[in-house]
């Protein structure tokens, strides 16, 4: 029993407390917040970010980073839409190609980073530009609409009363969580992030593994792109720009360490929920759209601090550093 209590205590992190706090505050300030329809709303809005953030989680676990996901998402949605409109490809097939392209982008990122030894900032940032450019070229900078609505079921559909995006995210979460915690490759991911040298010595093929993880991040971005397409029912290259930073924020706020080797997709889900709930709640309460951004920034800092440091110590440290410590030497 004490072990269960200990595990519960370790799971309830700072971000979770902030989430619960937000639920409390927003419910008090707005009667519409604490309702099923609103919860469904939040889930739908968060689902795209969740998928991208899951992929980003894997990369950050390796102590890496993927700046290209926003653009890659857009590329997938544009490729998918174009294939449906111009090549009259069946929606599912078009989506598959789109996701495949995304995975390919990720693979290139991974290979350049692992085998050429470049800091991951670089290839993923370059890929960002190229993917965005490619998306703009394919769509000729127009908004694409008028393709078959088959894919919309991913966003609008329901099964047993539960919204499709929720089921999708839940299913993906389950698979990825199991992967990370229960498969040799998942454990290897943590090992590489935790101590790359030791991982190498244990026979793990580090470079190959890293390349595949980046390919996976691309894959998830592709998946998110398809879901985004389903939601907006239109494809425009620049729509998804910004998701790269949001995904990183969600991962870090959720508790996965930028240094690698610690964290996971469940924690990322908390981070995603936190951000989505914050946006939704502020909307409900009627906070100026612009002021919302300020809140988001403050909460991000707060969530990071509570997850990674003791809040009391942090404030004490802050006070000491800003207002000075006692005299350092008595005589010099």
């Amino acid at each position: 029993m004490p072990r269960l209590a200990a595990r519960l205590a370790s799971v309830v992190s700072g971000p979770i407390i902030i989430c619960l706090g937000m639920i409390g505050v927003f419910s008090l300030l707005s009667e519409n917040f604490f309702s099923l329809s609103n919860a469904v709303n939040i889930i739908r809005q968060a689902s795209v970010l969740a998928l991208v953030a899951f992929g980003q989680t894997f990369v950050i676990l390796l102590a890496g980073i993927d700046l290209s996901v926003g653009a890659v998402m857009g590329l997938t949605s544009c490729v998918t839409a174009t294939l449906m409109l111009k090549a009259h490809l069946a929606p599912v097939l078009a989506a598959a190609v789109g996701v495949g392209v995304a995975a390919l982008c990720g693979l290139v990122n991974g290979l350049v980073h692992s085998f050429l030894g470049l800091n991951p900032f670089v290839p993923t940032f370059g890929m960002w530009g190229m993917a965005l450019g490619a998306a703009l070229i394919i769509t000729e900078e127009r908004v694409l609409t008028g393709f078959p609505a088959t894919l919309r079921v991913l966003h609008d559909g329901e099964l047993l009363g539960l919204p499709a995006p929720l089921l999708l995210v839940a299913a993906v979460l389950l698979v990825l969580h199991t992967f990370l915690k229960a498969t040799p490759q998942g454990i290897a991911t943590y090992a590489i992030g935790g101590n790359e040298g030791a991982a190498h010595l244990s026979g793990i093929r580090v470079r190959l593994h890293k390349s595949l993880i980046y390919a996976f991040s691309g894959f998830m971005a592709g998946l998110a792109g398809v879901l985004f397409l389903a939601r907006s029912n239109a494809a425009q290259a620049i729509d998804t720009i910004g998701y790269e930073f949001d995904s990183i924020a969600a991962v870090v706020v959720g508790g996965t360490s930028l240094m690698g080797g610690k964290g996971g997709v469940a924690q990322t889900l908390v981070g995603v929920t936190l951000i989505a709930m914050l946006r939704n709640g502020l909307n409900m309460v009627g906070v100026n759209l612009y002021l919302q951004l300020v809140f988001i920034g403050v909460v991000l800092i707060l969530a990071y601090v509570t997850e990674n440091q003791n809040l009391v110590e942090f404030l004490r440290d802050l006070k000491r550093r800003l207002f000075g410590a006692p005299a350092s030497t008595e005589e010099a």
């Binding site: 980073i65 980073h113 030894g117 900032f121 190229m130 450019g133 920034g297 802050l318 800003l322």
Partner: protein
């Protein structure tokens, strides 16, 4: 000025690009186009200065665009009422203050630069938007707009101001103790501390300077546009990183110089310009930029200074 082999390679590459553009792209070599190119290049380089400084100390300032927006909107309010000098002062002060906050949290409280500048981006952008409520402030007196619109001979004022600022920055980086310590902190912050250098204080100053430069860039932009909007600089962090990376500034810190920035600005401007002149839709620009970035870093990697370490 002594140039390293890498700087020479870079200069050579830019010369080749310019020559190619001159030959292959119609109307590239016309005076009006070159002037446009020059203006764009220096504006880009100016925007990139803040980011570059923070990269020099192995950090990154993502908040430059937002800081530029807030500071220029606040400055604009003062300027439209005719108090140009006060307005400029307000703008620069706000920028420096924002940067100061970044620096203190990052250096003293050890907040990762990503979290801090990223959150700052939201906070500051939100403040700017709240302040303007989405409207734009326009109608500046000519005593202000000359900053963006006037010419010194055939050279646009932004280029003159940009060149002056970049030149000043170059001097600071190469000839002052502050600049030297900045490179040291970027090269090896621990060794800097162990050598008795005030590394933390230096980092704070760097970020404050980054904020200041961001607000300066913002002021020049709004002088040129004769309007201040809160959505100024949305793409600045990314554009700035692109210019810096092409110019040879490394994420790992301690490497890079102002000349590289200027060259980076030129390359970015040339790509955009050529895409335009060739009648290619603007979307090709991003693709080429991405490609150029990877190419530039590969070249650096092959002539690298330090052993690469995964982040």
């Amino acid at each position: 000025m002594k140039l390293s082999t890498r700087a020479l390679y870079r200069l050579g590459a830019v010369a080749v690009i310019l020559a190619a553009a001159w030959i292959l792209v119609p109307r590239f070599g016309t005076e009006s186009n070159l002037i446009n190119l020059l203006r764009q290049a220096f504006l880009l380089a100016l925007v990139a200065t803040g980011v570059s400084l923070s990269m020099l100390v192995a950090g990154l300032d993502l908040s430059i665009g937002a800081v530029a927006a807030l500071s220029s909107c606040l400055a604009a309010t003062v300027i439209v009422q005719g108090h140009v000098v006060l307005g400029v002062f307000v703008g620069l002060a706000v920028g420096a203050l924002g940067g100061l906050m970044n620096g203190v949290m990052i250096a003293k409280l050890k907040l990762p630069f990503f979290i801090m500048t990223f959150s700052m981006m939201f906070i500051v952008r939100g403040l700017a938007l709240t302040y303007t409520q989405g409207t734009s402030i326009h109608g500046f007196p000519a005593s202000f707009t000359w900053l963006g619109k006037s010419f010194v001979g055939p050279i646009p004022m932004p280029v003159v101001v940009g060149a002056a600022v970049l030149g000043l920055l170059h001097l600071v980086l190469t000839k002052t103790t502050f600049g030297r310590i900045t490179y040291a902190v970027g090269a090896n912050a621990e060794a800097a501390r162990f050598s008795g250098l005030a590394a933390d204080r230096n980092i704070i100053h760097v970020y404050a300077l980054s904020g200041l430069l961001a607000s300066l860039s913002g002021l020049i932009y709004i002088a040129r546009l004769n309007a201040a909007d809160a959505d100024l600089g949305m793409m600045w962090p990314l554009e700035g990183i692109a210019v810096a990376v092409i110019g040879g500034i490394a994420f790992s810190g301690g490497e890079g110089n102002i000349l590289g920035l200027v060259l980076g600005g030129i390359v970015m401007a040339v790509v955009g310009n050529c895409v335009n002149l060739l009648g290619l839709p603007a979307r090709f620009q991003d693709f080429f930029i991405g490609f150029v970035i990877i190419l530039a870093v590969l070249i650096d990697h092959l002539t690298q200074k330090r052993g690469k370490v995964a982040r």
